[in-house]
Symmetry: C2
Subunit: 438 residues, 2 copies
């Protein structure tokens, strides 16, 4: 009931990056042994002190408490609603299949096959929904998550925010070649001042921003504090809000030369979108996406001390609503009778970004891939593209297999590189199975 | 555009108590001059520093910032959802009437009449809904509030929590004569140990708890900190959570002798309900009331640092859902095809509590009234009863006029005594008007 794993200093927000150090090897309890209901986290009135998950002491972001916290974030931090609007819930017909659990695949780097059913626990999955031709063929939850409960999407948030940008660009309300400084003068003197909106979208802005998880005064930890995701220690002197943090970032080199995944790009994009639209992200997302999807539940954003949404990773929603958005992205942007996302944006994502630049970033589990408008493009035979968040959050669109997968997870390790070996081949195998046995 | 008002040191949670001091007389901007949209609170990205409402510095609870904050509390503090459930929204037919704004009444203590329409601003109303025979005859919002937005209900929360207790008592799951200590051993040694559940419900438990607003180390301020409504200052040494706070309270005299309105009674009752039901209040309220009302919106509770709901004043909901609950209380507890509240509980509330004890508490605007199961009973000719919250939150049920009023407000002064002169006669006049011209 215990699995060995490489030592890790928790990756805060990055996906797809190897984040373990070379030190000692911690052992994490496996999915069943870390089940938050079985462990009794926050059960009882009051829960025992050693079963209480708190924000202020940082315990919510320690494994296995994360297995409870990721489904209960609004109970820990201030949030703003993303309303589903007054319309009816869009239909997701059910055609659940018992054969899928037995589908086998071989994890990357291993020689023994694994089943789809076993991958659920191997990846510390909190919930997964598979749509095939728009029907729910598979749906499963574990631990603290249930169908109606919003779960933190982490960096899957970025794909929503960039898609909002794509909508405004298609309408001519936002110029992707404009510099950030021309749109948000407060960022003129920061790293973002002379970066273009397109460079934010493709993460080619050059920020002096490191992902050194061993140093708790590193930019990635301080971003977490500024946006409201991590508690601010006593006597803290770094920028205490998202905007102050963004304005403090400096440029490391010329923009546009390299793809380096850095979360503040999305928060700067969020600022651009608020300024251009005149709306907070919560309203923009409601008006442009959630109310048109026919979502089942209100979603919500984590906000900082001044009410600014954490665009880089703070969106929470119910899993079937995540699947609905994936289905819209599969169907050229049209779902529930609405053209939600412009087809040109979806087509552009499918074509992908600069593969040579992406190769330089060293994502071992995504060979030949690219990054475009905050979507990950696999450039595999099925033309799959994905939204990816730390600890196993995902939308995976396989247009060839007419399949969409939505997943929430609470993997003890931060980088998706820790999940990809048992998720990407599983997704691919499931898509091929559904094509052969529709 | 400015009104004069007695000097006040903000009343935190109490209703119906005179809270002004004898010192200088501050002047508050009137409702239009304090309109949060006109003033630009939290408008812009970012809002100007002097238009930013924050939790940590306490500015959210200063007037006129409250006019924005009371409709945006979840953006400031951690909260837990009270789901409306998956069912359809219950119908509230509309039959809006233009004649109501001209209904006149004479405010208590004044000689000149005022119109219903003018009372809206006079009371710093954020929103008001009037149901007559189950139809919406009047609905109006101002400032930061809109129909779909939850607003803090303050002590109206108490009436919901006590009604939950009434449901469990009617089912035989809770004995109103049991002592709190026998149900919650953690409270055995506190003031609540030998108080009965009924004494909590009627606020006749004798707590050594003062409402001294001038002393920021007074019990009422410290309650606000413990339950998560107020920021905890650096170096704070008082009990930092709701349960620790409750366990620290001592008894001032024998229980059952006097009616004294003290918010911790409701929080102790909340603990009892959690222990007896095995559910957090958020789930109990969802299962027993919100999902059966056919509510339009999810509601939410403010929670403390350990996730405990603030039973004494932390419920937030949309105004029409507040009206639905009032309508259920008018209709003997039955609404939307469900018996939500036992008729025996509603009948007991209508009969009221001990009027002699109530008279001793000195509520000048409620002569002849009483308090029963955390509902205020007017004992007026129409047999009205009410849920009342600080700064003007209210449910007002007039069974004779077949009228229910639901109101949210952000009056600069704490006690309802400041609103009653222009609200209670207005409600009464409206009820009589609706009877004469149905």
């Amino acid at each position: 009931m215990r699995v060995r794993a490489p030592a890790v200093v928790a990756a805060l927000l990055v996906v797809g990056v190897v984040v373990w150090s070379q030190g000692q090897t911690p052992v994490f309890p496996d999915a069943r042994a870390s089940d938050p209901v079985a462990l009794g986290w926050m059960a009882g009135s009051p829960p025992p002190a050693d079963k209480t998950v708190r924000f202020a002491d940082g315990s919510f972001y320690k494994f296995p408490q994360t297995r409870w916290a990721f489904s209960h974030m609004r109970e820990l931090v201030p949030t703003v609603a993303v309303s589903r609007g007054p319309g009816p819930v869009s239909a997701l017909p059910r055609a659940e299949r018992r054969d899928l659990d037995a589908v086998t695949f071989t994890p990357i780097g291993q020689s023994h096959p694994m089943t789809w059913g076993a991958a659920f626990d191997a990846n510390y999955t909190d919930g997964i929904v598979v749509l095939h031709r728009g029907r729910i063929v598979y749906e499963r939850y574990a631990g603290a998550l249930a169908a109606e409960r919003p779960h933190i999407a982490f960096s899957v948030t970025k794909s929503f925010v960039a898609t909002l940008a794509g909508i405004l660009i298609a309408e001519g309300r936002l110029d992707e070649n404009a510099t950030v400084g021309s749109l948000v003068p407060e960022l003129q003197r920061s790293a973002f001042g002379d970066a273009s909106v397109r460079q934010l979208l493709d993460m080619t802005a050059a920020l002096d921003y490191s992902e050194d998880y061993a140093d708790e005064d590193s930019p990635v930890w301080n971003l977490g504090r500024a946006v409201g995701f991590l508690p601010i220690p006593a006597g803290y002197t770094r920028p205490p809000t998202a905007y102050q943090y963004l304005a403090s970032l400096t440029r490391s080199s010329p923009h546009g030369e390299r793809f380096i995944y850095k979360t503040p790009n999305t928060d700067a994009l969020g600022w651009v979108l608020r300024r251009v639209s005149g709306q907070p992200l919560s309203e923009l997302l409601r008006d442009r996406i959630f109310s048109r999807l026919g979502a089942e539940q209100d979603a919500y954003f984590l906000v900082d001390a001044t009410g600014v949404e954490f665009a880089g990773g703070g969106l929470h929603m119910a899993l079937r609503d995540l699947a609905r958005f994936g289905e819209a992205m599969r169907l050229d942007g049209t779902f529930n009778g609405h053209t939600i996302v412009p087809k040109a944006f979806v087509d552009d994502v499918r074509r992908g970004g600069d593969r040579q630049r992406f190769a330089g970033a060293g994502y071992k589990t995504l060979p030949g891939g690219s990054y475009r408008s905050m979507w990950w493009v696999l450039h595999n035979p099925h033309g799959a593209y994905s939204a990816r968040g730390i600890h196993g959050q995902a939308i995976y669109v396989d247009p060839t297999a007419e399949m969409v997968i939505a997943r929430f997870g609470s993997h003890p390790l931060g980088g998706n590189v820790n999940l990809d070996p048992t998720s990407l081949p599983a997704y691919d195998a499931l898509g091929r199975h559904l094509m052969v046995k529709p």
